[in-house]
Structure formats: C-alpha cells, structure tokens
C-alpha cells in the first residue's frame, strides 16, 4: 500500500531564506509524486508533480522538488521564501495505474510552513 510521511509538523523560516519541506514515500510500483498547498479555508492547489524524467522538478510560484529514488524522498524546496508562502503543504503519492495501482492520492499529514518577515 502507498504511504507518505512528512516528518515535520511545522517549519519556520525567515523571509528571503531558502526553505525545505520534507517528504518520504512508499509505493509498490513506480511512484507518481505530488505537492499541494492549502491556504486557510481554501482548497488544495497543485504545485508540482514527478512522474518520470529529471529528478529536479520545477513548479508553480518558484517551488521545486527533488526526487531521490534511493532515499525514497521528494523534498519541496524554494530558494528564497516569501511571507505569502505561509500555508499548509501536503505531499501526496499515487501508484502507477498502468501497473495495477490505485489512482487515489494518498496524502501526508501536512507541514505547516511559517515564513517570518
């Protein structure tokens, strides 16, 4: 079964500093990996995905994520944090449907990012 772990409930960074939100995953086949952001009382916004290809994936709002197969990790990064990046970030994984996996997204517990001015 698929699973995702976000080891940090909270991450605090100063504006202008680089940020990293950690995620590790477990799947039986090829992983489809996603990052979503959720602002208070709002829906989930898609940031980026990894399916295949380059290990460094670039997404929306200057975010990027690095896929590491040997460490089964997919950490979210941004070179310079903004106060407006403060939100709840979810990592999610899905099995490869073509290999019989489920198409449902399995989410981590979320990491609350706070960027201090």
């Amino acid at each position: 079964a698929q699973s995702v772990a976000q080891p940090e409930d909270q991450v605090n960074v100063a504006e202008g500093n680089p940020l990293t939100v950690k995620c590790t995953y477990s799947v039986s086949g090829n992983p489809y990996l996603f990052w979503y952001v959720q602002y208070p009382n709002r829906g989930l916004q898609f940031l980026l995905k990894y399916i295949t290809g380059d290990n460094l994936v670039k997404g929306s709002y200057g975010f990027e994520a690095e896929f590491n197969k040997s460490q089964t990790s997919f950490h979210l990064k941004k070179p310079s944090a903004l106060v407006s990046d403060s939100a709840l970030y979810f990592c999610a994984v899905r099995d490869d449907k073509s290999q019989g996996g489920s198409e449902k997204l399995v989410f981590g517990k979320g990491t609350k990012l706070t960027v201090n001015p």
């Binding site: 829906g43 989930l44 449907k97 997204l105 989410f107």
Partner: protein, 112 residues
C-alpha cells in the same frame, strides 16, 4: 482558467438528515474524485469515477453513494448523517487517470 466548481460551499444539516454535494469538473476532464478532510487532518479518498463509471473506491461509508452523470458532473449523496461526518469535502478532477488532480474549493458540511 476554469476550475472545479463545488456546490454548496457550506451546508448545515442535523443528525439523520440527508445531504447532496455537487461537483462540476474542469471542462474536458473525464475523471472525478471525492475526498473528505476532517479538522486538522489530511484528505482521505472516498471514491472516483472515470467516464461515468466508478473507477476506484476508498473509505466511503455505506451511507454514502455517488455517481457521475453524462455531462461529467458528479454528486455525492450522504444519508443518515452523523456528527462525525462534519468535514470539508473536496472534489477533484483530472484530464485522465494519470494526470494531476485539480481540487475544488470544497464543501464544508456541519452536522449538528
């Protein structure tokens, strides 16, 4: 760009009542997913539909049912509501079953 539309945005029901949540996917998206997010929790998958047929099923109670219609919109029907059903219900859609899922704003259901 058009997004996923959910209605209503807020719904208050009493225990044992029935609720119907509606979802209108992004145009040309053929797959719809339903998720439930409890307070302070991560979203949990309920059910999905591809081309109007149930595609995958998660932890959806027997009291809940859903379908996808010919225009690809979907409805989640919830009966015999319980206090524990109070949550944010998200609908998501994707262009195909391998693509990224785009989420709607959610319906906040409160059961009193």
């Amino acid at each position: 760009a058009a997004g996923v539309i959910q209605s209503p945005r807020h719904l208050i029901k009493e225990k044992r009542e029935t609720a119907t949540l509606k979802c209108y996917p992004i145009p040309r998206h053929d797959t719809v997913y339903w998720y439930q997010q409890g307070p302070g929790q991560d979203p949990q998958f309920l059910i999905s539909f591809y081309e109007k047929m149930q595609s995958d099923k998660g932890s959806i109670p027997d009291r809940f049912s859903a379908q996808q219609f010919s225009d690809y919109h979907s409805e989640l029907n919830m009966s015999s509501l319980e206090l524990g059903d109070s949550a944010l219900y998200f609908c998501a859609s994707s262009l195909d079953r391998r693509g990224e899922q785009y989420f709607g704003p959610g319906t906040r259901l409160t059961v009193t």
